[in-house]
Amino acid sequence: MDTQTSAQQAAREHHDDDHYDVVIVGAGPSGAVTAKRLVEAGFRVAVVEQGDWPDYSKARANFPDYELTLDRHWPWNPNRDVEGHGFEFDDSASTLTPLMWNGVGGSALVWAAQWQRNLPSDFRVRTLDGVADDWQLTYEDLEPFYVRVERDFGVSGLAGDPMFPAGDGPPMPPVPIREHGRRIAKAHNELGWHWWPGTNAIASRHYEHANLKACTQRAACMRGCPERAKSSPDITHWPQSLAKGVTLILRAQVRRVLMSSQGLAEGVMYTDEHGVDRSVRGDVVVLAANGIGTPRLLLLSADARHPDGLANGSGQVGRRLMMHPLGQVIGVWDDPVGTTHGVHGQQLHSLEFYETDESRGFVRGAKWGLLPSSGPLTQTRSYPWGSENAIWGPGFQDALRGRLGHSAWWAIICEDLPEDHNRVSLHTEKRDRFGDPLASIEYKTSDNSDRMLEFHLDRAVESMQAAGARQAIRGSWIKESAFHHLGTAVMGADPATSVVDGWGRAHEVPNLFIFDGSVWPTSAGMNPTATIAALALRNTEAMIAARSGQVTAS
């Protein structure tokens, strides 16, 4: 019996008259970290999740039809409810589409598992660069929690990266660097540019602590790892948490936070898979529904006491949406460089141009991660190759041979700064199947982000050329590229300008917490899950320590 089956059998059933210490909305990384730590501390915990368990029988990397079935079985545009993991929203006013996977494990089911801590400067953007805001904590505050979540998620990598303060590294050695990675590393040394072996939530060894098997480098990480070597909370967290007594309520759409007459949270109301309205009640409510779902739920929970939405006296709920503009530069080599396989994932990363240098014409920076290009169908796609590099027609066979096994790309994550007009709000007309307003996404990249992306694309072309690539192609831009959704319930010290305090507690509702990426004051230029998870663990421990003084509705 595999761990998922065991976990499902261990799951406790919820009854509406059950009362919990903590009710969590969302079973993705932040909800998983929170539930695990709380149940270890003896809390009674219920988690409400709109989706279901992932179906690994549809992880097709060891079948010939793998590339054909990616979009069918592992979709990441939630507006395409292909297999029950959708979450409809209106992104017609956004230049980027938020991507996610809704279910047990959350968007970690379709992430590349690139695991990046933020840098110390990411927590002090206002102090160091004079823009946006500082966080309510420092890198040093979070560092011990990074170390702990790296063990729980089963991270592989190498300590000692000079771009980070010294300290403990991941529990497993890094994944192999293949020929394309070695060429890039050598080129960066010659250029005097930073690189470092990639840090990934991918097991480079069998890793019992988090139920992970050893990676077999199929380059299939983003769409169903058949080995269960890629970390996601359905594997690493939920089996243990369910065995310890967490109640996980699935296929349940949370529609409101329930509030007492005293203005305290009492639980949440949801509609179950049969269309029946139900409730789950607890002393504390934690929202872990991501940067789109959490602000929508707060806005949907408006009442007479909170006419503009729950915890929204500042007017900041839904605002400051940051989604990380993404760029790619593809290198194509004359000879084979081992790119049908490897983690996907990052073989290595570069932070050479991460820190601010205002002479470049913008503030802040971006992180690069190097990925192999995988199988033959991927070599024909308009993304990331671009329509101007379309492979069809005369020359197809040579072009295909020239790309397959010969091409890799830098994925470039640009930090975008918070702006009030980039936001999640409730749609004025469109409704979901329950009759609730859809989330409406308004988002446009700033001039600073546009200049940043241009600069980094140019430098990444130079990187590929220095590594001997015969072609260095700027990848095509596509709307469906926003895997990171941050900033829509910002933390801060002042209730007039922020939604939660530095511990995730809502200023206006002392037993309502937000533990997902919504609370980030700035977005950094890193893959965010490491920091989301570490912050959730830090804030959960604070909640546990403050248990005796916690105000509750009951």
Binding site: D65, V175, P197, C215, Q217, E355, G395, D398, R401
Partner: protein, 140 residues
């Protein structure tokens, strides 16, 4: 295996496949790869959502000709272009003859060695010699 399309429709799909992936001698032609007999149908079993989109493409191809229909889809019907350029090459890459010619055996497992020197050791000194590069947390 015939799949959802009749012989005339398969003729049009094969013409579209040959337009996208012409026979140039270094890989099997779409006919030799077995798309007509086997792999278009097999690809549609894997992606049944492609069938109605190929049917829509075929209506255009029957009306205007294959080449015109392909160019029209490329320029004006991105959802059909996406389906045609997924299902037909997807079928081509299912063919063992094509995989053999490419030397591509699929996303086969390659175990990570657990012994021996790390493959990055020879390069790391170039990075480490630069010393710390981050901006530390400012003192209050």
């Amino acid at each position: 295996m015939t799949g959802p399309f009749n012989t005339d429709q398969l003729d049009l799909l094969m013409a579209a496949a040959a337009w996208l992936m012409p026979d140039e001698g270094s890989l099997p032609s779409v006919e030799d790869a077995g798309l007509r007999e086997t792999y278009i149908a097999q690809a549609l079993l894997a992606r049944p959502d492609g069938t109605p989109k190929l049917a829509e493409f075929l209506r255009l191809a029957e009306q205007d000709g294959v080449e015109e229909a392909l160019e029209h889809c490329r320029d004006h019907r991105p959802e059909l272009w996406e389906a045609v350029t997924t299902i037909l090459p997807g079928a081509y890459f299912l063919s063992p003859q094509v995989r053999d010619a490419l030397g591509y055996r699929g996303q086969t497992p390659q175990l990570i060695p657990t012994e021996g020197s790390p493959d990055y050791d020879e390069f790391l000194s170039g990075v480490l010699d630069r010393g710390p590069q981050y901006r530390p947390t400012p003192s209050q």
